[in-house]
């Protein structure tokens, strides 16, 4: 769905991506994460076509046609919706611009948005939900989600994720998440990508990642040859986050070995800055 080839991009003189390559197959749900300032949001803007590469190319699946941006739903922190417009008028405008027959109000039904209200008078959560609904109404083939869903409470985040699941079920939709609550998307994500210094530092299917990152708690260090990416030192015990974990390493470790969820795994990578 997305093929990024030899991408170069930076703000001013500071390069963020130099010769960056990345592919996302059609229908995949992918999480791109990493330490602050690593260029996650920039990457999403480049994919969305909001920013242009200095060098290199970003190509989309031919099914997106001559105007790929019409098939891309970009949900970012900058809600580009008309402030002084009434909600119902905005919906009509959006539908006519995108040639969508019907507005899917599954999400806004739950938020008590008054359709005669002006956009600027809505709460942050209501605006976000309106924005999400408008974008999902266009039935994007590629959905890009930046941190915007952070503004929603737990209930609205659940509604949003339920909607994404419904759309995934309905048609092949490729999704790239950036800066989201990992717990929300734990069972949606198929692939996890960690960026560092403008390149891909880690890129694994989620089930492989769960096999390869483990936690061991130890009072006297780790045996020789056990690689870890992050360590939390406590009074008498330390937590070690082991990566890459293998059967060979399992044999070296005498005590219990803990499996980890997505949040624990990403936190360990970021805490140790991927060692």
């Amino acid at each position: 769905m997305i093929t990024i080839d030899h991408l170069h991009f930076g703000y001013g003189r500071k390069p963020i991506f130099a010769d960056f390559n990345f592919k996302v197959p059609t229908g995949q749900v992918c999480l791109v994460t990493g330490i602050n300032g690593v260029g996650k949001s920039t990457l999403l803007k480049l994919i969305a076509g909001v920013l242009r590469p200095e060098k290199g190319t970003i190509a989309y699946d031919p099914s997106l046609g001559q105007e790929p941006r019409r098939k891309i739903g970009f949900i970012s922190d900058r809600l580009s919706i008309y402030e002084s417009m009434r909600v119902d008028r905005l919906i009509d405008l959006h539908l006519s611009v995108f040639g969508v027959g019907e507005f899917d109000d599954a999400l806004i039904r739950h938020t008590r948005i008054n359709s005669r209200e002006r956009v600027k008078n809505l709460s942050v959560g209501q605006r976000t939900i309106l924005h999400l609904s408008l974008i999902l109404s266009t039935r994007p083939q590629l959905l890009l989600v930046d941190e915007v869903i952070h503004d929603l409470d737990a209930y609205l985040r659940k509604l949003f994720i339920d909607e994404v699941i419904r759309h995934l079920d309905e048609r092949p939709m490729t999704v790239v998440f950036v800066n989201v609550n990992f717990h929300d998307i734990e069972n949606l994500v198929e692939r996890v990508v960690l960026l560092k210094n403008g390149t891909i530092a880690v890129d694994e299917p989620i089930e492989v990642l769960k096999d390869r990152v483990k936690r061991v708690i130890s009072g006297n260090g780790l045996p020789e040859g056990v690689p870890y990416i992050y360590r939390i030192v406590r009074e008498n015990l330390s937590e070690y986050f082991i990566y890459p974990f293998t059967d060979e390493i399992r044999r070296l470790l005498p005590g219990p070995i803990d499996d980890l969820n997505l949040t624990d795994i990403v936190t360990a990578f970021i805490g140790g800055e991927y060692a």
Partner: protein, 159 residues
């Protein structure tokens, strides 16, 4: 089939669908066992334990993905594997149904039984119980379970 009165009082015949049985599927996000494997095992368990019977309908892909809040691709994979392994079958236009009766599923039940036994034994031995203690205790417990005889016979028939 049942008779229903619509509000304008004409009698219409409504084909009543058998209600779906609720499934208990717990997903452990921490587990290194992939989500699709966890869901597959849970459905197999429902079939092997007799909660789901031959001919029972399974939830649609959409419904199960929404209920478990997981990627619909995962459910597609689960149903595909269960179909290949002969536990369920797709009926065009109407969904997925349990295919395996308990007898056909005996080898899988056997495998699960071995797994449970190993886990149980390892923990009982770790607590200091001897093989004699364990055997005696199991015999006493099993005698009190009304259902135990049946599965044993089925397993026996299979061999």
């Amino acid at each position: 089939m049942m008779l229903t009165f619509a509000h304008h009082c004409t009698i219409i015949m409504v084909q009543m669908k058998k209600p779906l049985k609720p499934l208990s599927i717990q997903i452990d996000a921490k587990s290194a066992v992939p989500v699709y494997e966890q869901v597959k095992q849970a459905i197999k368990w429902s079939i092997l334990s007799g909660h789901l019977e031959k001919g029972d309908q399974l939830p649609s892909l959409r419904e199960l993905a929404a209920m478990l809040r997981i990627n619909p691709n995962t459910i597609v994979k689960v149903y595909f594997h269960l179909e290949v392994e002969g536990f369920i079958e797709a009926q065009a236009g109407s969904g997925f149904f349990v295919k395996a009766d308990r007898k056909a599923a005996v080898p899988e039940a056997r495998r699960l039984f071995e797994q449970l036994t190993e886990e149980y034994l390892a923990r009982a031995v770790a607590l200091g119980f001897t093989p004699e203690d364990i055997t005696a205790h199991l015999q006493k417990k099993a005698a009190a379970e009304p259902d135990s005889q049946q599965l044993q016979e089925e397993a026996h028939d299979h061999h």
